[in-house]
C-alpha cells in the first residue's frame, strides 16, 4: 500500500495547480463562511435627511423635552450617510449606494407636539427604497420597521420619564418653570398634612367633610405613587427573560472555526479520495492493479488513508493559521486529532463510494462538489428557521452524510465547555462502515463491467 501512497503523492506533486486548487478552494470557502458566521451582518448604509429645523423640540404640556437623541440611536444601528437634500437621497437610493433613505420632514416635531393637543396630527417619516429584488425589499422592510420601533421607543421612554417627573411633582410638591416664572406646587403629601393639621380647628359639623378631603389626598398620593412605575413600564411593557432549556451553543468564534475546519477537511478528503480512485480507472490502471498486485479492498484503504493524511495536514495548517486571529486551546490537540481522523475516515469512505460510482476524474469531481457543498450548507440550517417537516428531512439527509457529525465532533473538540465528542465519533464510525461497504460494492460492480 505504501508504494501506491507514494505514487499518489508523486502524482499530486506533478500537478501543482490541481494540488493548490484542492487546498486553496476549500480554504477560501472556509474562510468566507467563517467570516460570514463570526462577524454577522455589516451595518447597512442608510441615507439620512433631517429637514426638521434646528432647535425644534418636542413639548409635553408646554414643557420642552430634553433631546431623545433619535438620530444617534438610529445611526448606531445603521451606517448613516448624511445628505443635504431629497434629490441626493433619491439618487443614492436609485444607484444602490445606500439601502434606503430616511427622511425626517420639517413638520415632524410639530406633528409630534400636536399629539398632546385637542387636534392631534399623525407624525410621519418618509422612507425611500429601491425594491430591485424581493430579498432586498424584505430586508429594507425589516430594517426600517426595526429602526422606527427603536425611535418610537426612545421618544416614548423620554415622554414617560417626563410624565413621571410631573407625577412626582404632584405627589411631593416643588417648583417648576412656566413661561419663565417659577411656580410652586404644594403636592398631595403636603396637602394631606396641612388638612390633618387643620382638623382640630374646624367646627365638628364640618369635620366629616374635611376627613373625606384628607382621605382623598392621602389615597390619591398612594395611588399616584403606584402610577409612577406604571408609567415607566408603559414605554417598554414587555422585557425579555431568556431561559436556556437545551442545546449548549459554543462561542460563535469556536463554531466559525469548526465550520471552516470541517469544510476544508470535507472538500480535501472527499475530492482527493474520489478523484484518485477515479484516476486509477481513467488511467486504465485499475484492472492491472487488481489482477493480483493489490486487492480491491486494499486499494480502497489506500485511498482513504491518502485522504485522511492530506485532510489532517491541511486542517491542522488551517487551525494554525486561524490561531493568529482567535486563540485556540492547543492542549486539546488530542481531541482535534480524534475529530479529524474520525471525520476524515468517514468522509474518505464517502469519497471512495463516489469515486467508485463514476468513471472519470472530472465527473467524480463534479459529483463530489454537487454532494458536499449542499450537504455542508444544509448542515448549518438551525432548527426553527424552516418548517418542521422540512427540517426533519434536512436532519435525515445531513445525518446520512459525514459532514454534520464531523462538524459536531470538531466543535466538541474545540470547545472545552461544549458537549462530549463521543456521540459524533460513534456516528462517524457507523457512517464509515456504511460508506466503506457501499464503496466496496460499487467497485465490484465496476470491475465486473
Amino acid at each position: 500500500m505504501r508504494w501506491l501512497l507514494l505514487k499518489d503523492l508523486q502524482i499530486l506533486r506533478r500537478s501543482p495547480l490541481q494540488a493548490a486548487l484542492l487546498v486553496l478552494y476549500p480554504v477560501l470557502i472556509a474562510i468566507l463562511v467563517g467570516l460570514a458566521i463570526s462577524r454577522g451582518p455589516e451595518k447597512p448604509r442608510v441615507a439620512f435627511l433631517n429637514e426638521v429645523p434646528s432647535g425644534a423640540r418636542i413639548n409635553v404640556g408646554g414643557q420642552q423635552l430634553p433631546s431623545a437623541n433619535v438620530k444617534g440611536r438610529i445611526c448606531h444601528r445603521v451606517e448613516c450617510v448624511f445628505v443635504s437634500n431629497r434629490e441626493v437621497a433619491e439618487q443614492k437610493v436609485r444607484s444602490g449606494a445606500v439601502l434606503a433613505a430616511l427622511v425626517l420632514p420639517a413638520d415632524l416635531v410639530d406633528k409630534i407636539n400636536s399629539l398632546s393637543t385637542l387636534t392631534p396630527g399623525t407624525p410621519k417619516v418618509e422612507v425611500l427604497v429601491n425594491e430591485e429584488n424581493p430579498v432586498k425589499a424584505e430586508l429594507v422592510d425589516d430594517r426600517v420597521s426595526t429602526l422606527l420601533a427603536q425611535a418610537n421607543l426612545a421618544i416614548a421612554k423620554r415622554i414617560a420619564a417626563e410624565g413621571g417627573h410631573y407625577l412626582q411633582l404632584l405627589i411631593d410638591g416643588g417648583d417648576f418653570q412656566v413661561l419663565g416664572q417659577t411656580v410652586h406646587i404644594l403636592g398631595m403629601r403636603t396637602a394631606a398634612r396641612v388638612l390633618a393639621a387643620l382638623e382640630p380647628s374646624v367646627p365638628p359639623a364640618l369635620r366629616p367633610s374635611l376627613e373625606q378631603v384628607t382621605r382623598f389626598a392621602t389615597e390619591a398620593r398612594d395611588n399616584l405613587d403606584v402610577a409612577g412605575p406604571l408609567l415607566d413600564r408603559l414605554a417598554q411593557p414587555i422585557e425579555v427573560d431568556k431561559v436556556r432549556v437545551g442545546g449548549e451553543s459554543p462561542p460563535l468564534e469556536v463554531f466559525a472555526i469548526a465550520v471552516a475546519a470541517t469544510l476544508t477537511l470535507a472538500f480535501v478528503v472527499v475530492l482527493l479520495v474520489a478523484g484518485s480512485l477515479a484516476l486509477e480507472r481513467e488511467e486504465n490502471a485499475f484492472p492491472r492493479l487488481t489482477r493480483g498486485l493489490v486487492s480491491e479492498s486494499g486499494l480502497l484503504v489506500e485511498k482513504v488513508v491518502l485522504g485522511i493524511l492530506a485532510g489532517l495536514l491541511v486542517t491542522l495548517l488551517m487551525l494554525a493559521g486561524l490561531q493568529l486571529f482567535v486563540p485556540l486551546e492547543w492542549g486539546r490537540i488530542g481531541l482535534w486529532l480524534a475529530a479529524i481522523l474520525a471525520g476524515g475516515g468517514a468522509l474518505g469512505a464517502a469519497g471512495a463510494a463516489l469515486g467508485a460510482a463514476a468513471r472519470e476524474v472530472r465527473a467524480v469531481s463534479l459529483l463530489a462538489f454537487m454532494v458536499t457543498l449542499p450537504v455542508a450548507f444544509l448542515s448549518l440550517v438551525p432548527s426553527g428557521t424552516v418548517s418542521g417537516g422540512l427540517y426533519d428531512a434536512i436532519r435525515i439527509l445531513t445525518a446520512a452524510f459525514p459532514f454534520k457529525p464531523a462538524l459536531q465532533a470538531m466543535t466538541a473538540a474545540l470547545d472545552s465547555a461544549g458537549p462530549g465528542i463521543g456521540a459524533p465519533l460513534l456516528h462517524l464510525a457507523i457512517l464509515f462502515v456504511a460508506y466503506a461497504v457501499l464503496a466496496r460494492l460499487a467497485l465490484r460492480r465496476f470491475a465486473a463491467a
Partner: protein, 234 residues
C-alpha cells in the same frame, strides 16, 4: 495455456460461445476477427480480468502477463517511476535492477526521466508492454498492441515481441490488422460473433479459403480472409 469451452454472456447476448484453444511455449498466436467478435473478451478472460460463465482456463499459475489495448500507465509519472512502482507491487527483490532490465528491453533507457504523457503512442505502448513483462510471465497477452502506431513504431514493436517469443514466452495477441497477423502470427485464431471459426497457421487459413471461397484464394490475405468470413455467414 489451454482454454476449453469458454462461454461469456453480457445479459442476453453471448459474447463467447464455447471457444477453446491451446498455445505452447514460444508460440505467437494472433486472435483475429471483425468488431464485436469477442477478441478482447477472450483475452480478458485468459488474463483473469474477467470471469467466464462456462469453461476453464489452464494457465501457468500467476505467470501470465497482460497488456491492455490502452496503455495502463500513470501519465503524470515518469517512465522510470511507472516501472519502479509496478516492480515494487510485483514484489521484486531488487526492483531497480528490474527497471534497468526493462528499460534496456524496451530501448527507452535515455527517456527514463520523461513524463509518460509526453511520450509518443508507440513509446507508451513499449512501456505498457514492459510493465506487462515485469511479472516475468511465461505467457504474455497483448490486446491490439499496434493500434495507433506508425509503421516504423509497429515494426519496432513486433521486433520486440518476436524477441520475447524467441526467448520462450508464449505470446497471444489480438489485432484488426490481418496483414500484421499473417506476418507475425505463427498461428491464427479466427473469432466471429463469439465463435472460433478457425485455428491454424496463415498457410492453413489460405488453404481453407481455397476450399471454401476459391474465387478469393489468390487475392491478398485480407481479401481472402474477408471472403472466408462471408462464406461462413459473417
Amino acid at each position: 495455456m489451454r482454454a476449453t469451452g469458454i462461454v461469456k454472456r453480457f445479459g442476453e447476448r453471448e459474447a463467447l460461445r464455447g471457444v477453446g484453444f491451446a498455445a505452447g511455449a514460444g508460440e505467437l498466436v494472433a486472435v483475429i476477427g471483425p468488431n464485436g467478435a469477442g477478441k478482447t473478451t477472450l483475452l480478458s478472460i485468459l488474463a483473469g480480468i474477467a470471469r467466464s460463465d462456462e469453461g476453464t482456463v489452464e494457465a501457468p499459475g500467476d505467470r501470465v502477463g497482460w497488456v491492455p489495448q490502452q496503455a495502463a500507465l500513470y501519465r503524470r509519472l515518469t517512465v522510470e517511476e511507472n516501472l519502479l512502482l509496478f516492480a515494487r507491487l510485483e514484489g521484486h527483490e531488487d526492483p531497480r535492477a528490474s527497471v534497468e532490465e526493462m528499460l534496456e528491453l524496451a530501448g527507452l533507457r535515455e527517456r527514463r526521466g520523461e513524463i509518460v504523457a509526453r511520450l509518443s503512442g508507440g513509446n507508451q505502448q513499449r512501456i505498457n508492454i514492459a510493465v506487462g513483462l515485469l511479472a516475468k510471465p511465461s505467457v504474455l497477452l497483448l490486446d491490439e498492441p499496434s493500434v495507433g502506431l506508425d509503421p516504423r513504431q509497429r515494426a519496432r514493436l513486433w521486433e520486440f515481441v518476436a524477441a520475447l517469443a524467441g526467448g520462450g514466452t508464449t505470446v497471444i495477441f489480438s489485432t484488426h490488422d490481418i496483414q500484421e497477423a499473417e506476418r507475425y502470427g505463427g498461428r491464427l485464431l479466427v473469432l466471429a460473433d463469439g465463435e472460433a471459426l478457425f485455428d491454424g497457421s496463415p498457410d492453413e487459413l489460405r488453404q481453407a479459403v481455397r476450399r471454401e471461397a476459391p474465387e478469393a484464394a489468390d487475392r491478398d490475405f485480407e481479401t481472402a480472409f474477408v471472403a472466408y468470413l462471408q462464406h461462413r455467414g459473417h
